[in-house]
């Protein structure tokens, strides 16, 4: 028997970036908001303080901030001919749990999507002809343009205290910045990060080859900063414990540093942790949400009535909630009909390992999640795709995330994996190695999608999410092209004695980490036949349910998602406040 609570105006599922930002916006406008976070409350002080936070075993290997696969995981297969089997432990990505979500343990690499990313199908078709798209790709346009979103990108920049050189202020190129950067209305609120050795060597070689390296923008503040909510942040100290860790210094932007302290002072805002949402409850006709049912920390089922429900869980968990709640028609790969689960993508990453002369001390432990020199010459449509026959692109960089040695102890290929010879090699190369990383776009295909698993269940007896995914030929060609460019740069770098390019190969494997940039499955679009939500983030089928985050992306840009996730969160909050509350109902007619 479930217990029924007093009704609220808005129930938000998930205490990460989007739930925190939207929750604060709505509560400030006197909406009674409850944010339901399945995990525990975790705050920079006392939970992430030094020295105990500097613990690779706990945070990287034992997944202290990651979703617990023992209670909830995904199943995986490459195609519908295979039987999906559970990911019994995380390897391919690190979905989060606990307050702040992935916004707590992210690296802080900070980007906006390129203007052409919002019109992938039409832009490439116009420039190269429709045949540039392989037949199996379901790439499609957003129903929103970069120009429309720019004010919301800007708001998020000043919430998180982004650091970087502006490359393009209101259409005017700026010295020092990324010349390929889309226009921005204001400079970054903080100056760029310091440049470690390996990224500097990368930048030197890239510039020599005629490319345009720049210091990567970051969500780690570079000086004391008071953000747009009046909250203080402190300068990053480059401790090298960002990715998979919480930040002890209030330097890395996270919901609990940048917005939740303000939200929690609002009388209409409530954060409720330890609440695992099972589903959105609909009226009998399935056209209106009544609220959500969750299991509380004591295991009791609770019904929380709400006028508006906002899905702000991790991207693929949002899609699972839609499927479990029977909101929207599930995608069917046989007929290419249905929408929920459609256009799921990961991120097509690759790299080039570099080994240096012993006189080059790289000091890989002096780092930060987002400290890098990057080049966008092969991102988006910044280069002529005509001769190459693929769509999309990616950036090349050297980013010094962490030298923590359980995960990072590179040796050249062919080195034995153990024994005295391994020991000699790991000692020789630990401080004399680096990697060029290539973060590429990922195109959706008709055969890759999310659905509910018919066999495996979570700790509450609900079906796990099933991921059916493989890399499209388009992305394989892209990865080969970009990785070869990376290898050329690596060979041109001072001190490099050996390069090892590693372009992405098929089949996609769930056994190696690629990124936590899982996108799609609840695509935003202009056509209900190919999207789950309209341009306001509102479900076509259940208009008092909104979806946020990277689950909206119709395909994955080469750029990291959080900037665009933050901008769309502000956009959706404003659509709810200005449009939906004024006239509850469908905001876009079909």
């Amino acid at each position: 028997m479930s217990k029924t609570l007093p009704a609220v105006d808005v129930a938000i599922i998930g205490g990460g970036w989007t739930g925190s930002v939207i929750g604060k916006e709505l509560a400030a406008a006197k909406q009674r908001v409850v944010v339901l976070e399945r995990g525990e409350p975790r705050w920079p002080s006392p939970d992430f303080q030094a020295p105990t936070v500097h613990d690779e075993l706990k945070y990287v290997r034992r997944h202290a901030l990651h979703q617990n696969t023992a209670t909830e995981t995904c199943t995986f297969r490459n195609n519908t001919q295979q039987k999906a089997l559970p990911m019994r432990r995380w390897q391919f990505a690190y979905p989060a749990t606990h307050l702040g979500g992935a916004g707590s343990h992210w690296s802080g690499a900070y980007y906006r999507f390129d203007p052409t990313d919002f019109k992938m199908r039409s832009h490439y078709s116009d420039r190269y002809g429709a045949k540039i798209f392989d037949e199996d790709l379901s790439t499609q346009d957003w129903p929103l343009s970069y120009d429309e979103l720019e004010p919301y990108f800007d708001r998020f920049d000043y919430l998180i205290g982004a650091s970087g050189y502006a490359g393009n202020l209101k259409g005017k190129l700026q010295p020092g910045g990324n010349p390929f950067e889309p226009w921005r209305s204001r400079p970054y609120p903080n100056p760029p990060m310091k440049v470690p050795y390996a990224p500097a060597l990368f930048g030197e070689a890239a510039a020599k080859l005629g490319y345009h390296p720049y210091v990567q923008p970051s969500a780690l503040v570079t000086r004391p900063y008071i953000n747009s909510e009046g909250l203080p942040m402190s300068a990053c100290v480059y401790c090298g414990f960002c990715s998979n860790f919480g930040c002890e210094h209030f330097a890395k932007a996270s919901p609990q540093v940048c917005v939740l302290p303000v939200a929690m002072k609002l009388p209409d805002f409530e954060l409720r942790t330890g609440t695992h949402v099972l589903r959105v409850e609909l009226t009998p006709d399935g056209k209106h949400a009544r609220g959500v049912t969750y299991v509380d920390a004591a295991g009791e089922e609770v019904f929380q009535p709400a006028d508006i429900v906002i899905l702000s869980a991790f991207s693929i968990n949002n899609v699972r909630l839609l499927l479990l709640s029977k909101i929207g028609k599930p995608y069917d790969p046989d007929t290419s009909t249905g929408v929920v689960g459609r256009n799921y993508t990961h991120q097509t990453t690759s790299g080039v390992n570099l080994f240096f002369e012993e006189s080059f001390n790289i000091n890989p432990f002096m780092g930060a999640g987002a400290v890098a020199v990057t080049m966008d010459d092969f991102s988006a449509d910044n280069f002529d795709h005509g001769p190459h026959g693929f769509v999309g692109g990616g950036y090349l960089q050297i980013q010094v995330v962490s030298g923590a040695p359980i995960s990072y102890h590179p040796t050249p290929r062919g080195t034995p994996g153990w024994g005295s010879e391994w020991k000699q090699a790991v000692r020789r190369y630990y401080n004399h190695s680096a990697s060029i990383t290539i973060t590429g776009s990922a195109m959706p295909t008709r055969g890759s999608y999310l659905s509910l698993d018919p066999t495996y269940k979570d700790a509450w007896g609900q079906p796990l999410l099933r991921i059916t995914y493989d890399l499209p030929d388009n992305d394989i060609r892209m990865s080969a092209f970009l990785t070869a460019r990376g290898d050329e740069i690596g060979k041109a770098m001072r001190g490099v004695t050996l390069t090892e390019p590693g372009p992405r190969k098929r089949p996609f494997t769930a056994t190696s980490y690629q990124s936590t940039h899982l996108t799609g499955g609840a695509a935003i679009g202009a056509d209900p036949a190919t999207s789950v939500v309209n341009r306001a983030g509102q479900c076509w089928d259940v208009p008092n349910v909104f979806v946020t985050g990277a689950s909206l992306f119709p395909q994955n840009s080469g750029y990291n998602p959080t900037g665009t996730v933050g901008a769309t969160a502000y956009w959706i909050a404003e659509r709810i406040l200005k449009d939906y509350l004024a006239a509850p109902g469908k905001l876009v007619q079909t």
Partner: protein
């Protein structure tokens, strides 16, 4: 271990080279200190060598080492694990190996704790082998895998050589480990290659994780590669390019919290 007779216990401690005088093992090199003692700055030629347990009383006034008590492994398992660790990361001229760094104790703690029992491991059936891309699909928790795997390794060793794995000469141990890695040994329901990978992963974790977990004793792993450990700031160093870091590593146990020393942060 509770029921272990005193004589066996001494034999075990001797085999593990723990809690006994420095005459054993790498004594020639040793000024060893247990990880619980504040890390001193190592000077050339005095790489901490953990296998020796205590430093000789004549050269050190540090507290005597605590005897570490096993919580998961039985005697035979611990001896076998020590032998494996010695081959995966040997004690050699570059410094202590995995055994000396306490990897057996590290694994013992991990296997007797939440990770060993599968606190983050999805363990519901049906279990099917699947494709390589689908990853680990066995039902064994880490604890179950180590228990069965070490038993099967010793069985294989007895069958082939009439001796336990730990009793083999190191060259023959390497041959067995290579066969295990290649999946050529029959461990029944546990593919030997999967067990080998678990051994290697666990050894790397124990060699390179913070010493608070019982491995990386004396920060042997960090010293080998030059990782500084739990330092909190490189703000003044990160753009001083190419300068070698020469300060000794710092464990969480010894690092200062920010703010006043001794301040509690939990």
């Amino acid at each position: 271990m509770d029921a272990t007779p005193p004589t066996s216990r001494r034999a075990l401690l001797k085999a593990l080279a723990v809690g006994v005088p420095a005459a054993l093992g790498a004594a020639a090199r040793a000024t060893a200190q247990p990880a619980s003692v504040t890390a001193a700055t190592p000077s050339p030629g005095t790489t901490p060598a953990i296998s020796a347990g205590a430093a000789p009383a004549t050269t050190s006034t540090v507290a005597a080492p605590r005897t570490r008590v096993l919580g998961f492994f039985n005697t035979a398992e611990a001896v076998c694990m020590d032998a494996i660790a010695s081959r995966l990361i040997p004690d050699d001229e570059l410094g202590p190996g995995a055994k000396e760094a306490g990897v057996t104790f590290f694994l013992d703690q991990q296997l007797s704790g939440g990770w060993g029992t599968g606190d983050h491991f999805y363990r519901h059936g049906p279990f099917e082998p699947g494709t390589l891309e689908q990853g680990y699909q066995l039902s064994f928790t880490p604890a179950q895998m180590f228990r069965l795997g070490l038993e099967k390794l010793n069985e294989s060793s007895h069958t082939a050589n009439g001796k336990s794995f730990a009793e083999l000469p190191s060259s023959e141990q390497d041959v067995m480990l290579k066969r295990m890695q290649a999946g050529e040994l029959d461990f029944g329901p546990l593919p030997s290659a999967i067990f080998f990978q678990a051994l290697l992963d666990g050894t790397m974790e124990g060699f390179f994780s913070d010493p608070i977990y019982g491995g990386n004793n004396g920060m042997a792993g960090w010293t080998l590669v030059g990782f500084p450990g739990a330092y909190a700031s490189y703000a003044n160093d990160i753009d001083r390019h190419g300068v070698a870091w020469t300060r000794p590593p710092v464990s969480i146990a010894d690092a200062h919290a920010h703010g006043a020393a001794g301040e509690t942060h939990r």
